[in-house]
């Protein structure tokens, strides 16, 4: 009888837990190594989120497999709101195309997207093209002549580029590197002809004149890269592929927790200090929550599936 009373007391204490969420530390899995773009974005956001939620946030970096190792490990977490995944889009929408993964875009409870940026293609100043249009024409006229560095075989960067190339009938040789830093090193050293990767690492070199970026993979042009054409202006607005970041929870997470987190994320992502931080990396905030986020994931997944299939990469 005593135990029953205790149990009832426990339930009584336990019920308002949701209202008091979070009451202990939250663990955030990042499926990328420490120090990279996703990692710094998530950690900076984490410090703001700690204040907003009034709890501490522990970060666990689980790198490997283009993100699939960390995401798969995350799937074993309980949907109690204390385990979250901070990832970029590639592990969710691209990796399942080229690897056997235990998850699909709908295997998670989407909470909110946080920020986004475009990929860019850049060449040396002596490359015979000055605009996006000339760049594509030069590539199309010389099939198999040019090499472009990218973030890894079947990665979002490669698919973003191939999405453009395929629609123009362009054949360029993909050289996969370990990340944008490595690609940049090989591009500056003249070992590959074209830099393919995120904007932030190459930005200083466009300012110094050592690189000219002629295309961004977003529909609109990017103010930081005035010479680069957006895909809309090339008549390929529907071929947009972005690098974007989001926070996900395990499937079956309580709606009240999801709402609380989405609200907190919306507030912190738009915090002036975070927006300013994003700007130094060439990123802009873009918060999409709930069903709209689920739809965004599914649409991107479906579009990239076609590109991967054309490349013969799909599983």
């Amino acid at each position: 009888m005593k135990y029953l009373a205790l149990a009832l007391a426990a339930v009584a204490v336990g019920t308002p837990v949701l209202a008091e969420y979070p009451e202990r530390a939250i663990e955030v899995t990042i499926p990328a190594p420490a120090g990279g773009g996703t990692d710094t974005s998530a950690r900076k956001l984490g410090t703001l989120l700690e204040e907003e939620l009034g709890t501490s946030i522990a970060v666990l970096n689980v790198a490997g497999g283009g993100g699939s190792v960390g995401v798969t490990q995350f799937m074993m977490q309980k949907p109690n709101g204390y385990s979250l995944l901070a990832t970029w889009n590639s592990p969710i929408t691209t990796v399942p195309q080229v690897q056997q993964t235990a998850y699909q875009p709908d295997s998670f409870t989407p909470i909110a997207s946080t920020s986004e940026t475009a990929y860019t293609l850049c060449v040396k100043p002596d490359f015979p093209a000055e605009t996006g249009e000339e760049f594509l024409a030069e590539l199309a006229a010389n099939p198999g002549k040019y090499t472009y560095g990218n973030d890894g075989i079947g990665g979002t960067m490669q698919l973003a580029a191939e999405r453009i190339f395929q629609s123009e009938g362009i054949e360029a040789v993909a050289i996969p590197f370990g990340g944008a830093g490595e690609t940049l090193q090989n591009f500056l050293g003249g070992h590959v002809d074209i830099y393919g990767g995120s904007i932030s690492p190459v930005l200083p070199y466009t300012e110094s004149g050592e690189a000219k970026c002629l295309i961004v993979t977003s529909a609109a042009a990017v103010p930081a890269l005035p010479q680069a054409a957006g895909l809309e202006s090339l008549g390929m607005g529907d071929k947009e592929t972005l690098l974007w970041r989001m926070v996900l929870a395990p499937a079956g997470t309580d709606q009240a927790i999801v709402d609380r987190l989405a609200e907190a994320l919306e507030k912190t992502v738009n915090d002036p200090s975070y927006v300013e931080f994003l700007a130094t990396k060439g990123e802009v905030p873009n918060v999409v929550v709930g069903d709209a986020l689920a739809e965004r994931l599914q649409n991107e997944y479906d579009a990239l599936a076609i590109v991967a299939e054309n490349l013969g990469l799909n599983q």
Binding site: P33, A34, G35, G36, D39, T40, R43, K44, G46, T47, V59, L60, N61, V62, A63, G64, G65, G66, S68, V69, T72, Q73, V98, Q99, Q100, T101, A102, G144, T147, G152, I153, G154, V173, I175, P176, F177, G178, G181, E182, L184, Q185, N186, L188, G189, G190, H191, V192, S200, P201, L203, P204, Y205, E207, S208, E276, F277, T280, K281, L313
Partner: protein
Amino acid sequence: MELISQIFGGVFAFGPIAAMISASILGVFIGALPGLNPVMAIALLLPLTYSMEPLVALGMVAGIYNGSMYGGAIPAILLRIPGTPAAIATTFDGFPMAQRGEASRALKIACWSSAIGGTASAIALMTIGPVLARATLYFGPAEYFWVAMFGMASIGVMVGKDAVKSLMAAAFGLLLGTVGLDQLSGTPRFTFGEVWLLSGLDLIVILVGLYALPPVIALAEDRDLKGLSASALKLESVKVPWGEVRSMIPTWLRSSLIGIGVGILPGAGGNIAAFLSYNAAKSTSDDPESFGKGNPLGVAAAECGNNADNAASMIPALTLGIPGNVIAALVLGALMIHGLQPGPQLFHQNPGLVGGFMVQMLLTSLLILAVGGAAATRIFAQVQRLPGVMLVPMILVLMAVGVYVINGRVIDLWVMFAAGIAGYVLEKLDVPLAPIVLGLILGPMAEQSVRRALLISRGDPTELFTRPLSAVIALATIGLIVWPMLRAWKRRRA
């Protein structure tokens, strides 16, 4: 002049000084505990400093980085357990010295060599960094392939009595290095459908098992059940005579240059620097046979080499915006969070901050002498007084905690355990372990580089030899293999 006062005014303030001293002490401990590693410590602590003064955060990074690179030598010398991957070469001569009762002397040499290597590296970072960074751009995939081959050629120096066993060990390491998702084709290799294997075998997990478990099992076999040894270790400072110091100067010079050279190449690391420095010390010695049996020059070369890698590894990060290792990436991340854009303009954007960090790399190298030499070494040298019955469970727990924290998964503990059993059996069979590690580190680097080079040359292998720089490194590699043979042949004739 104004710049110098700005830099020193920033560094010599209470916060940055306190951060450097406490982080150096912490770094020595992190390096000394097998399993715990500087990457983890910096990744954990750096976010806590985001709201602080940037030089406090960077001083902490510098302290942990330099401190841990020396700290790794402490268990390497006392217990034959490298505290960090870069301390493997330190075990070769450090542990035999300790067995001879020269633990304090070995630790002192390690401490001085670390400080000298770190200082030389920091000076390189401050003076010729930008020029060196430009030079690294000439290293394309073909050159990286030869750098990896050059490193592998140093396996020759680790060959024990039985060359075939060493080569088999190296081949085993190469095989382990192929596990995981192939970066160039996206195909999983030897993963048996296990997702955690896609990222390959974690170097630290394998290393902790392979290198820490066999000495622990050996300790357990001694069944030392008595209490704390009453015969206190002699801890008064050992005098290293000037003559011996002078004899180390060429080794320090050579190892510093090697460490700096390896450090500026993105992707190569302190472990390769230590191996190459050790190899160079042995192959230029008049008495190569004494290496591996407790030659102080071996300890000096390895420790000087791995610390000389540190500041130099920041050169491509600070001058080009290209991080060469995870710690450099974390530093760039921290700078970005404080509103700086990594790249060639970094120094001009905020010379006080970037220059201050360079000075901090220098100061924390010198701090090794104080915190490493005086404080930490004395504490850790007490380890030798602990009986096996206490030491064995303590080390096992530390190893397990360290390995678990890396990826937060239990399977890593089993991998560590399996690697440890393998290491124990291989040692009983007189198979050296160092070639396994070298194969595991350099194999993937060599394979990926050569395949990238062939992709770029459209399958033409002559480009591996005809590019001027790759030809030079290829010749150096051949020289590295042939040189000891020539010397042995000459000696036999004499």
